[in-house]
């Protein structure tokens, strides 16, 4: 039933329309203008055609930054899924103090990434850090967590996993609770092992959660910025320079607005395609 009253709907959605035009549609359109210009904000814009693109294609550092970001993702996502799923399985048993355990695992999620990074910078410290003092006691070795070109990005990935895993534990817990009990009971009668039940019942049943977790952590991982910004400044030897950190520098250290917008545009395309591909793969893999 449509009434005159429903016209009030336009008034109610007006804030969205204004916000969308000003903060989404206009910037989107303007980014198409920017990518063909050279501009430092202060002097007038300079039309440069496709030269931002040719610059991008030859920009070794940008591709290194993308590669670094991918290294981060390749370590961070599987590690996070394995730990989160394992802990969620444990918490999903009949246990006491489940609320307490869940709350303690979730704690780093609510705390600012700035705090986590400052804290871990000290935990990773070469000589005085907790991690190395523990390693010395247990194995008699120290690792150059943040000073080695090979280890710095994995170190950041481990820290990010520690920070975020609590969220994914909770998401998986919600997913696990949707799996009907009778399916496990039926499998028990057939004499299925723990692993078989996990592989053939749990995993397929929580596929929607898996898709969500992979996508959220991919999008989050691609925006990696503050952790290397604080912890390593992108070093050593640009090994932790993330794509966002590089774009940030192009824009706000060098004021290459046109070029930074081009990088942002190109990078957004990558993010979008990766997420799309992931979605297709996970959806296909678990048809059973």
């Amino acid at each position: 039933m449509k009434t005159k009253r429903d016209k009030i709907g336009y008034v109610f959605v007006l804030p969205y329309l204004i916000h969308f035009s000003v903060f989404v549609a206009f910037p989107l359109a303007f980014s198409f203008v920017l990518i063909f210009h050279k501009w430092d904000i202060i002097s007038p814009m300079d039309w440069v055609g496709f030269s931002n693109f040719s610059k991008l294609v030859q920009d070794v550092l940008f591709f290194k930054a993308i590669r670094n970001t991918l290294v981060f993702l390749v370590i961070h996502i599987p590690l996070q899924i394995i730990i989160a799923l394992a802990l969620a399985e444990f918490l999903n048993q009949k246990i006491r103090f489940r609320g307490f355990f869940r709350a303690s695992y979730f704690m780093p999620v609510v705390v600012s990434g700035v705090v986590i990074t400052i804290l871990w910078q000290q935990l990773y410290a070469q000589d005085s850090g907790i991690i190395n003092s523990l390693l010395v006691k247990l194995a008699g070795v120290k690792l150059p967590w943040l000073t080695s070109v090979k280890l710095a990005m994995p170190s950041i990935a481990i820290m990010a996993t520690w920070k975020n895993v609590g969220l994914y534990i909770v998401l998986f817990l919600v997913g696990l609770q949707t799996v009907p009990k009778y399916m496990y009971e039926a499998a028990d009668i057939e004499g299925a092992s723990h692993w078989q039940k996990f592989r053939h019942i749990t995993l397929p049943m929580i596929n929607p959660t898996m898709i969500m977790v992979v996508i959220i952590s991919t999008i989050g991982g691609f925006s990696l910025f503050i952790e290397p910004y604080i912890m390593t400044g992108g070093g050593p030897l640009n090994s932790t320079l993330s794509a966002m950190l590089y774009i940030y520098r192009q824009a706000f250290s060098f004021y290459h607005m046109g070029y930074a917008a081009t990088l942002g545009f190109f990078f957004a395309l990558i993010v979008f395609s990766v997420v799309l591909i992931q979605k297709k793969i996970i959806e296909r893999e678990n048809i059973y």
Binding site: M1, R5, I8, G9, F12, V13, P15, Y16, H19, F20, F23, V24, F26, P27, L28, S31, L34, I41, F90, Q93, G99, F100, F101, S104, Y105, F106, P108, V109, V110, V111, S112, V114, V115, I118, W120, Q122, L123, A125, D127, G129, I130, S133, L134, W162, G166, L167, V170, I216, I219, S223, Y229, I230, G233, I247, A261, G264, F267, V271, F272, V275
Partner: protein, 269 residues
């Protein structure tokens, strides 16, 4: 025996997640020379690190700034998103489905694409170095709109019809009749928005450069990165602890709501 191993395993992970925080707090009240190593029991308690922080940066000003910004955005998001969500759920008007489609589409759009143009917009509006840049772009949030829309779809039409019969305006229906029975949705949107804005640091770094306008995470970041902390571990950690404290306190009291809200969103803080 099996039970014992099971609980020891769970406790092991609690230590993994909690111990670093305890260590951090303990490090901030120890003399600088004693920080490091594994222990957390201070031989002597000192507040030197905190005094240094107060001396060097306007941290309470930043706390106030963050509170103003996060509170304004949260209130704005709740009001606007509930209006928009209510309308998308309950009003029938031309273009409604189109708007909903646009909202779903913009949710999938990576923010990297509009970051630079949005900054330029702030420059043109002359909003840089003001709270407007920190507040206005965040006032409408697509995720909150969807959440409110889903929520208002579950309200019985009879209730709305009855209110209309009584001559209530649409605003009265939303804010006086639906709000009191929508606490879970409001709390969820409130917690997620407040946390996201409180912890946001990239955007403030871009649009604010004057120290007295900086938000708390931004000020602490600049303090640590910019060398003002003189690579004193205790001082850096004291600043970090002050940044973490408000959220940790809120979390210890309302942890159920925090976890439930974040679980519905899957959003990162």
């Amino acid at each position: 025996m099996r039970k014992l191993v099971f609980y020891l395993f769970l406790i092991f992970w609690t230590i993994i997640f909690m111990y670093p925080f305890l260590w951090m707090i303990s490090a901030t009240i120890r003399p600088e020379a004693e920080i490091g190593g594994f222990g957390i029991i201070p031989s002597k308690i000192t507040f030197d690190s905190y005094e240094k922080v107060f001396e060097k940066i306007p941290i309470f000003r930043a706390l106030l700034n963050s509170t103003i910004v996060a509170t304004s955005v949260t209130l704005g998001v709740i009001i606007f998103s509930s209006m928009i969500g209510y309308s998308l759920a309950r009003h029938r008007f031309r273009g409604r489905n189109l708007i909903f489609g646009v909202i779903l589409f913009t949710m999938t759009m990576p923010f990297q694409i509009t970051l630079i143009p949005q900054y330029i917009l702030m420059v043109k509006f002359q909003w840089t170095e003001t709270f407007l840049a920190l507040i206005v772009p965040y006032l409408v949030n697509t995720f909150a709109i969807i959440l409110f829309r889903q929520h208002f779809l579950t309200i019985p039409q009879d209730l709305i019809d009855a209110a209309k019969m009584d001559g209530c305006s649409e605003f009265t229906i939303l804010f006086r009749i639906l709000y009191p029975i929508s606490t879970p949705a409001i709390v969820t949107v409130g917690i997620i928005t407040f946390m996201a804005i409180w912890n946001e640091v990239l955007w403030p770094l871009i649009v604010i450069h004057e120290q007295h306008l900086m938000t708390l995470p931004q000020l602490v970041t600049i303090f640590v990165v910019g060398g003002q902390a003189e690579s004193l571990m205790g001082v850096k950690l004291a600043a970090a602890t002050m940044l973490a404290a408000p959220i940790i306190i809120a979390y210890s009291i309302f942890q159920r709501y925090f976890i439930a809200s974040m679980a519905t969103s899957g959003l990162k803080g």
